[in-house]
Symmetry: C2
Subunit: 358 residues, 2 copies
DNA sequence: GTACCGATGTAGAGCGATCTACAGAGCACA
DNA sequence: TGTGCTCTGTAGATCGCTCTACATCGGTAC
C-alpha cells in the first residue's frame, strides 16, 4: 500500500494489465462486436482486479454518458418520488443510470435544472416543467431525447406522458355530483406563466372541470378560484370561500397540497364532509394516510416513471416519431367526500374505504 | 441556415467569433487571472450571442465538473427533501450545481448510487448510507470531498454531519417520562447490515434510549423491538405489541414512518394517547399535518443541507482536517403524546428484557 | 541603452474514453 | 496456389475543455 493517494485505474491501465489494446478493452465494456470469448474473459478479469470504472465524463466526450436525467420541480411534492421509484425499477438491469436535477428556488429554476442535465450530456431526460416554452424543447429534442411529463403538448421532437386530466376532472366532478353536490368550486394554482401553456395539467384540469360541470347540469355553478400553489394560501382562500355568503358544497382542488389546505380550513370551521366535501388530485401518500383519508385522483405515478424510461430508451435506440402517452386516472374514494346533507347542519359520514394504492 | 440539426456551440466557436484564443475564453468563463476588461466583455458578448454553454464532461476531463452530488436512499422518506431544499438554497449564487443519485431498489443500491456520482466525477458529494463501510469512504475521501450525513463516524478523510441522536432520544424519553410514562418501548428499524456500523443513527438512537431510560429510573423497563423499515411492518409489530399481555404505555419510534405505522395500530385498537403515547423522529411534514399531529424530534434538515454544502465547498477550497458537525435536535410536542392515564384499562405486569441480540 | 517586470494573450499538450479504418490470420473455394 | 471473405484485434484521430509554458508588449529602473 503506497502512501500517496493512488489515482484510480483508467482504460489504459486495464489494457496494459490484460496485455491488449485500449480499443479492445473499450469493446469489451461496451459489449461491442468483434471480441473473442478468451479476450472478454481476460479483460473482465483485469477490470475486476484493478477495480476499474469507466469515467462517465470521458465516455460522454465521444459516445454516450449512459446517464438519464430527471428534472424535478419542488421536491417537496410527494407525487414526484413515485415517478422516480417507477423509473428506477425500469432502469434496473440496463446500463443506464439516473440522475435527478432538482429545480432551484428562483423563478427560472426549472430551466436551469434542464440546462444542468444538458450540460452533463445526459443521453435523454424527463422534465416536468409546466411553464417552459414548447419551442425550446422542440429544439432540444432534435439533439437529445426528451419526455415531457404532465403536459399534453402536441410535440413532434419530443414525447409526452400525462394523466388524462379531462377524465380525471370528470371523475372528480362526477363523484361529487353522484353524492348530490352541485355547488362545486374548482381551486387551482395557476401562476401567471403557466397561463401561457394551454397544455399544462392545471389548465387542462380546469377545462375538464368546466366541461364536466356543464355536462352534468351544473354549468351555471362553474366557479374557479386561483391561488398561490401552497397549502397556506389554499387554506386562506378556502377560509374566505367557506365563510362567505355563497358557500359551495364541495371543493375540487387541482392537486393534493391545495386540497390539504382546504381540509385544514374545513377543520377549523368545523365543517363535515357532508357539508363541504373536498377532493384532491395526485393521490399522494399523505392523502391515503388514514388520519387524513382524503378522496383524490390517482395518476399512477409509478407506472408513469416506467413508461418515461421506456420512451427514452426507445428514442435512444433510434425512434424518431413522437409518442404521446395518456394514462387513465382513477378515483380513490375516502372520507373527505360524503353525500350532501342538503345544507343541514350535521350528517353522517359513511365509511367507504378504498385501500388500493401504489 | 442548414437543414441538419446544428450542433451547439463549443469554446472554439466562441473563440473564433470573438477573435481570441480558446485559452482566453476558458479564462473568462472560469474567472481566472490574466484577462483584460475589454476582452472579458467581448467574450461575454460572444457567449451570449452564440448561446454557448460549457460541457460539463469536457471540463471534468481536466479541471472540475462544478457539480456536487447527493446520494439519497429511498426517496419516499420525506426527511431527505428537506436536506435538498437547504442545499439548493446554499448553492444559489455559486457556480456549482447539484445532482441527486437515488439509491436503486436492490440491496446494493446505495453503493451503486455513490459510484454513479464518482463516475460522473462530481467535485464532492454527500451520502446517507447507514450501511456502507467507513473504510470505503476513507479511501474515496482521499480523492473526493465526502460528507456523510446521519452517521457519527470518527472519520479522518471525510466530514460528517448528524443530529445529536443521544440528545434526541433523551428528549423523546424525557418527554414521555414527564408525562408519567414508564413502560416505554423503542421501535427501531435495524437491517442486518446496519448492525455492523455502530455509528449509524438508529443504533445511536437506540443507545440513547437505553441511557435515557436508565438515567430516568426506568432501566428495568428497557425494551427494544426491531422491525423492517416500513409503515406496514411497523403497524403489524405495534398491533402485536399493543394487544399482548405486556402492553407498553408509550412507543418511541426510530423515525416517523415507523411512528406512523404505530399510530395506525393505536387507531385500529381505539387507544388514546393517554393510554399509549407515540413519538417519532425526523419531524417530517406528515407529522406536522394537523390531522396527524404527531409528536416528533426535529433534526433541522434544511439547516443540515446548508451545512453539507459549506463543508463540501470548504474541502474543495483546500481544507484537509475533518469536521464533525452535530446538530442539536428539538422536541416538537403535538397530540400523539399525552399524560399517562395510569393504565385505567389494563395493568402491566413484569417487563422482560428486550430481544436484541445476534 | 539595457535589463527587468508585471500584465495579457496564445500555442499546444493532455484528460480518458470511443470510433473509424485497417492489418493480419484463418478458412473456403475455385 | 491464389483470391476473397469473415473474424479479431490494433493504431491513431478525436471529442471540448483546462492548464502549463511561453511570447509579447509597454513601462520603469539603473
Amino acid at each position: 500500500m503506497t502512501i500517496q493517494a493512488k489515482r484510480s485505474a483508467t482504460i489504459e491501465d486495464v489494457a496494459r494489465h490484460a496485455g491488449v489494446s485500449r480499443a479492445a478493452v473499450s469493446k469489451v465494456i461496451r459489449d461491442a462486436y468483434g471480441v473473442s470469448d478468451e479476450m472478454r474473459l481476460r479483460v473482465h478479469a483485469s477490470i475486476a482486479e484493478l477495480g476499474y470504472r469507466p469515467r462517465a465524463a470521458a465516455r460522454a466526450m465521444r459516445g454516450s454518458s449512459y446517464t438519464l436525467g430527471f428534472e424535478i420541480p419542488s421536491i417537496r411534492n410527494h407525487f414526484f418520488p413515485k415517478i422516480i421509484t417507477g423509473a428506477l425499477a425500469a432502469l434496473a438491469g440496463t446500463r443506464y443510470q439516473l440522475i435527478v436535477a432538482p429545480a432551484g428556488l428562483d423563478p427560472d429554476g426549472a430551466r436551469q435544472a434542464v440546462q444542468v442535465l444538458i450540460d452533463r450530456q445526459v443521453d435523454g431526460f424527463m422534465t416536468i416543467s409546466p411553464t417552459l416554452a414548447p419551442e425550446w424543447f422542440e429544439e432540444i429534442g432534435q439533439r437529445t431525447p426528451v419526455v415531457m411529463l404532465g403536459r399534453h403538448d402536441a410535440s413532434i421532437n419530443y414525447d409526452t406522458i400525462a394523466g388524462d386530466d379531462i377524465a380525471g376532472a370528470r371523475l372528480a366532478v362526477g363523484h361529487l355530483r353522484d353524492l348530490g353536490h352541485r355547488d362545486i368550486v374548482h381551486l387551482t394554482s395557476t401562476p401567471e406563466a403557466e397561463a401561457n401553456i394551454p397544455s399544462a395539467p392545471h389548465i387542462v384540469r380546469a377545462a375538464g372541470y368546466e366541461r364536466a360541470m356543464t355536462e352534468l347540469g351544473c354549468g351555471d355553478r362553474i366557479r374557479i378560484v386561483h391561488v398561490e400553489p401552497n397549502e397556506g394560501a389554499s387554506r386562506d382562500a378556502a377560509l374566505a370561500l367557506l365563510s362567505g355568503d355563497e358557500r359551495p358544497s364541495a371543493i375540487f382542488a387541482g392537486h393534493d397540497e391545495l386540497a390539504l389546505g382546504v381540509l385544514q380550513a374545513t377543520a377549523e370551521l368545523g365543517l363535515t364532509p357532508a357539508e363541504v366535501s373536498v377532493i384532491g388530485y395526485d393521490d399522494t401518500d399523505i392523502a391515503a394516510y388514514p388520519a387524513v383519508s382524503m378522496t383524490s385522483i390517482n395518476q399512477f405515478g409509478t407506472r408513469m416513471g416506467q413508461i418515461v424510461i421506456e420512451l427514452l430508451l426507445d428514442r435512444i435506440a433510434g425512434r424518431t416519431e413522437p409518442v404521446h402517452e395518456v394514462i387513465a386516472p382513477r378515483l380513490m374514494v375516502r372520507h373527505s367526500t360524503a353525500p350532501w346533507s342538503g345544507g343541514a347542519s350535521r350528517a353522517h359520514t359513511d365509511v367507504r374505504q378504498n385501500e388500493l394504492s401504489e
